[in-house]
Symmetry: C2
Subunit: 106 residues, 2 copies
Amino acid sequence: MTTYAVDAWAALADPTRREIFSRLAVRARSVTELASELPVSRPAVSQHLRVLKDADLVRVRPEGTRRIYAADPDGLRAMRAELETFWSAALTTFKMLAEAEPQESE
Amino acid sequence: MTTYAVDAWAALADPTRREIFSRLAVRARSVTELASELPVSRPAVSQHLRVLKDADLVRVRPEGTRRIYAADPDGLRAMRAELETFWSAALTTFKMLAEAEPQESE
DNA sequence: GGTAAACGTAAGTAGTAACTTACCGTTCGT
DNA sequence: ACGAACGGTAAGTTACTACTTACGTTTACC
């Protein structure tokens, strides 16, 4: 059910969004705090956070008038698994090709 | 030197490109062969392959009139490392938050 | 209850990205 | 040498994305 995931790949492709996520992975922060650390406006941060939230990459916790965002490992799981698959497959294929053509000398 | 990397994140964010890469990770293929397996034209595949190549995610080997593309682990390395950093950081922060607020009941 | 802070959303814009068709160069086979 | 296969690039179009400013809503505080 939780596995709809609006594509964590696309969500983390944007540099600003990746920067936001990396900061939230270290420590939870409010929207205004994030905006103060970044070269974009606060609404821009809100929009990025929505994308991250739709990808299950962040969670929100209301705290008075502020909303504290934190990184959520859930959205990362599938992506991480797929990347590991890519990695091992690429490594295997790469090694096979390297053995198949042992040129380099001569 | 090889470590310029045109952002593997952005390169793999596109679904078609990710599909191309996943196929090349399993087995090397020519451009035409890739195009025949995908719902896009051959030039589109060529363009995707260029992006993947700029990100060091694929390599080419000429073979007669064909060009055989294969997945290259190089472009994946940095991205994989960064993702692992995200993962462990997110996990740690997530656990800390979970312990800090043991509500759920009441 | 009024004010201020925090945040989300609407509306509009500029830049980019993915795709198509058309064209050109290169390599192999006969 | 000629024709065909293969593939990269140019040009053009459409769609989306990241951003801004403006506005409305909610919560806290006095």
